[in-house]
Symmetry: C2
Subunit: 417 residues, 2 copies
Amino acid sequence: MALYVMKFGGSSVGDTERMKRVAKRIVEKKEAGHRCVVVVSAMGDTTDDLIDQSKLLNSNPPAREMDMLLTTGEQISVALLSMAIHQQGHDAISFTGWQAGFRTEAVHSKARITDIQPERIDAALNDGKIVVVAGFQGMSEDGEITTFGRGGSDTTAVALAAAINADVCEIYTDVDGIYSTDPRIVKCARKLDEISYDEMLELANLGAAVLHPRAVEYAKHHKVRLVVRSSFNHNEGTVVKEETVMEQGVVVSGIAFDKNVARISILGVPDLPGVLAKVFTALADAGVNVDIIVQSGVQNGKADFSFTVTLTDTELAVQVINNIRGEVPYDNVTSETNLVKVSIVGAGMVSNPGVAAKMFEVISQQGVSIKMVSTSEIKTSCVVDSEKLHDIIRELHTAYGLDTAAQVVVGGPQDRR
Amino acid sequence: MALYVMKFGGSSVGDTERMKRVAKRIVEKKEAGHRCVVVVSAMGDTTDDLIDQSKLLNSNPPAREMDMLLTTGEQISVALLSMAIHQQGHDAISFTGWQAGFRTEAVHSKARITDIQPERIDAALNDGKIVVVAGFQGMSEDGEITTFGRGGSDTTAVALAAAINADVCEIYTDVDGIYSTDPRIVKCARKLDEISYDEMLELANLGAAVLHPRAVEYAKHHKVRLVVRSSFNHNEGTVVKEETVMEQGVVVSGIAFDKNVARISILGVPDLPGVLAKVFTALADAGVNVDIIVQSGVQNGKADFSFTVTLTDTELAVQVINNIRGEVPYDNVTSETNLVKVSIVGAGMVSNPGVAAKMFEVISQQGVSIKMVSTSEIKTSCVVDSEKLHDIIRELHTAYGLDTAAQVVVGGPQDRR
């Protein structure tokens, strides 16, 4: 008898028929003798619908009220899923985030968990009940309803698994597991049997939408055994854990890409101490997340440098740079979109020289120039024009020996929350 | 500067346009220098839609999970209404039932309020904020989300008005106030300027849907000054209070009717001590609410008696009677539907003999026989066939001098929650 945390995303419970199927899945686990805590997201488009409604009433709604609004989506899901489980003859009890004991910072829309007090969950499990917890939400010390931001339900599941010492945290989604790359682009993408936390973290951060990076971080930190699997079949899925066995000759585990990227360039910046700090402090203060930063060599006491931000932050970033012109004199600021960041990820890269060089070669063979490069011990990212993205991904997949004979069939839209 | 509780029902906030209008209404009050606590119901059909969804998943959903589900409706309303108020330049803060300090019995779907701890509301008012509270919901001592049942938002408003010592509790609805009878039936129904708690209580209990009986009871007990008025215009409305000035010659204030009634008759019941108690204890145990009870005279040691229940309880009541046949031998049990309970209500009835007699006469002039009668100090009810209901109401309205020259124009569907 094991203790399972099972997380189902919004598309897995997109309508009442899917909800019934999820209930059946949970009941199977329960009937196999296991204890089950279920974490569930808002149904299908509920969150987006609520956001649309809010926009009709307020062009810039207060974050506190958005949290109040959006948390109803998960509350509806847990109530309905509990009812569906009851209908199948098992006792279930639903909890909101605050009832489940999730305490967070007093921050709205992207609060971090400070503590989990799982007494009510423990009590319900001891009563033999299936526990259904609303993902993505908690409560601050002063009784305010907070949310964890997109992907927050993954974090709920992993944090809960750590708090109640679950044996496994299963993330159910609409794909069979983690793939070597997006199977919608590369038909012969391979499903990975296992992957390390670090690799998964890179993939998640690089736009592989199956698992949220914060959840992976949490899992790594608390050594929570994660399994990513399909809610539509009983295939094995991908295990995410500390150490993985490296397949012979496979240095790169996966290839990811992120289209949500823009490049900002600041030209002719005086090469004085503290200038860079001023720029990036101003950006941080405005809430702009900066990813890759590249500075060119200094000429005539002036330098050019570029950095990437998410697409939606493009205008804001340029505005921030304009605003600090008094403090940081520069010649010009430009922004560039229609870009993509392509990344190769693999724990074996560190001990295998030449892995990155092969990537540059493949990209240049496509006649595409590399605009920016960023590396870590287990990944190399290149920012390039998005036009030839699919060709690049396919060629990289082949070049790193990741192709399988089998063709992958992919289901519906991916769970993003 | 006065402290107002303003309650808006589901149809008043049925869509985002109406929501904006309600926000404007609240902002007007605030800008006139008053402090405002707003209670709001779920938008339009939200509650019914949620109930429909639950039925697809469970034919008999647990009450606890229904409360979990339905309370999201009001939570969505308060969040959106707060956003709409912000958009109009005023600071607003929304609270769920538990955040607003509503403590209730540990009962689901029809919990009673045990205590209100309005500290957070007081603090927000002191900060100059407009406070928006989710109607219909609270929390039990053990942290369970509970609801007050249909009409519960009225109760929220009145109880809150009592707890924070509000000067007035305004119930905004889609009619101009309390009418002498349903203006959809009697075109020349009159809007009452004022009415006593007791009269309102009778009218509310008798099916006049504008105010929920429990809320009126609460208002009477705590002497909360109630005003029922339209959310669509600025007309005066009807004041509900302790003592009202009786208009010259007007003994009956209002005429109500209730179609949600069935008659159960038990024939040939042995006239032994305790038999009636057994019957009605069994019904109470099954949760059947009995209204009028009539027993005929005893013949040969056996009696017939009849009672009324709500339509939906008809089958259940008959089943309960069948089940106790072992303890209470009787000859036969029958049920009758297509009935209506017509009632006249007026504080002046007690000191004016002959008021009831006139009612019986008007009904008999329509060729309709009276099946049951029930009286209190301020009302007389008759159960009759529903066929001639409209004629009876119109004739009673004229007979008691309630007709006005003006014709009433009635808006959309009435708020029931």
